[in-house]
Amino acid sequence: MTGTPVQAPTGAWTTGTLVEIDRTDRLVRLRLDVADRVDHLPGQHYVLRLRADDDYTASRSYSVASDPADSLLELMVECLPGGEVSGFLHDEAREGDVFEVRGPIGGWFTWTGDVPIVCVGGGTGVVPFVAMLRHARRIGAERLIRVCAVGRTRAELPYADELLAAGAFVALTRENLDGRVSAPPYLDELEPLVAGAERAYVCGSVGFASYATRLLGEVGVRADSIRVEQFGATA
């Protein structure tokens, strides 16, 4: 673990009003108007809390997909089987709903466009990298960020079209993409992305994160230059 975490902004509990929502089978994209918003750094996350009428609450953390300059806060949530919060957001939430939110949070898994980086994301693990790519585009730092996005299918990979348009390398493991036969990323596909990067970011499920960090090690990335954000559980 090297490098000093930047002094990242943090925000208190406030409310977010749902302005836009769209969903696919397993994903729901929320765009919220956050009261008294503290601008985040790309890579930070928010906590979203649901409250029942008997004051029972359930809260979960979600990475931010939007650029800090976006007037709305964008979250992309994967609907998990039996997911108490993700299921509600996917099935029930509608425009005009008001949620408790707290953020931004986290100062380690952030990038401000200062150093060249490589990012490897699996599934909804690409979300913080979408924020970084949007940020890079706005400040003209596209040459400093390279993204490898891994999904099962194009439909299941969040922001697949946007990632491809932004020049990300996309590896699909369950279907072919253009000329590429379905497979996880190969070492020789990662090598050009890694060249020149000072830091690496890995985001995804526990299993994906351990796979991706091992892969980065095999193409010569030092373990202490890798920052990891993982989610999900082991039994």
Binding site: M1, E84, Q230
Partner: protein
């Protein structure tokens, strides 16, 4: 704070027992048989025989123990619940190792020592009040449910401070540094609370 339209949450009465809901601190849910992992760094794969544990800083007798040395000390087991700041709690866990008191008794903290910094082999740090790691409230553990602690959960040895949020229970611990003044550790520099009492919901800096 607003009530979420249409949200009722998981049924409260249908939970395993009334007892388990009362054991959950505010804002936490019972993760059941699952054990989520959350780390900021790459999981190190450490060889237990090469690993050492040091207690130093404001102590009269700074000391380093090998894996074998620690196993020669009287053992201690924690049976109870753990709580992660990301809102999961895991009930009825069993961790075995030794009490931190055993190490402190040997290292002998100086009177001015009031805080500790736990250091991991990865460079991860977390700060705690000294009183939170003594008096039978903290352990160094190498077994979970009677089996060796897996690397992703901090094996071979992690700190266990179950009455605080679990980021205080540093994985891959290798050193406890006793200090006079508090100093923020890794997550604490990043906005997380210096103490982290789940019953007071001390999640982030600024939480009362």
């Amino acid at each position: 704070m607003p009530i979420t339209r249409g949200f009722s949450g998981r049924p409260r009465r249908g939970r395993p027992s009334q007892d388990s809901t009362q054991r959950l601190p505010p804002g936490q849910y019972d993760t059941g048989a699952e054990w989520p992992t959350l780390t900021a760094e790459v999981t190190p794969h450490l060889v237990a025989d090469e690993w050492t544990m040091t207690v130093d800083g404001l102590v009269d007798n700074p000391h380093t123990w090998s894996w074998r040395d620690l196993h020669a000390l009287p053992g201690s087991t924690y049976f109870g619940d753990i709580h992660c700041v990301t809102t999961w709690s895991k009930l009825d866990t069993t961790f075995s190792g030794i009490s931190v008191d055993t190490l402190l008794d040997i290292a002998r903290p100086r009177p001015e020592a009031a805080h500790v910094m736990a250091h991991s082999t990865t460079g991860y740090t977390t700060n705690l009040p000294l009183d939170d790691v003594r008096g039978g409230r903290a352990w160094l553990v190498w077994e979970y449910d009677g089996r060796p602690l897996p690397p992703e959960h901090g094996g071979p040895v992690r700190l266990l401070v179950p009455h605080l949020y679990f980021w205080k229970s540093a994985k891959w611990i290798t050193r406890l540094e006793l200090m006079e003044r508090d100093r923020p550790g890794f997550w604490e520099q990043n906005g997380y609370h210096d103490r982290g009492d789940p019953w007071l919901e001390q999640r982030y800096q600024g939480d009362p």
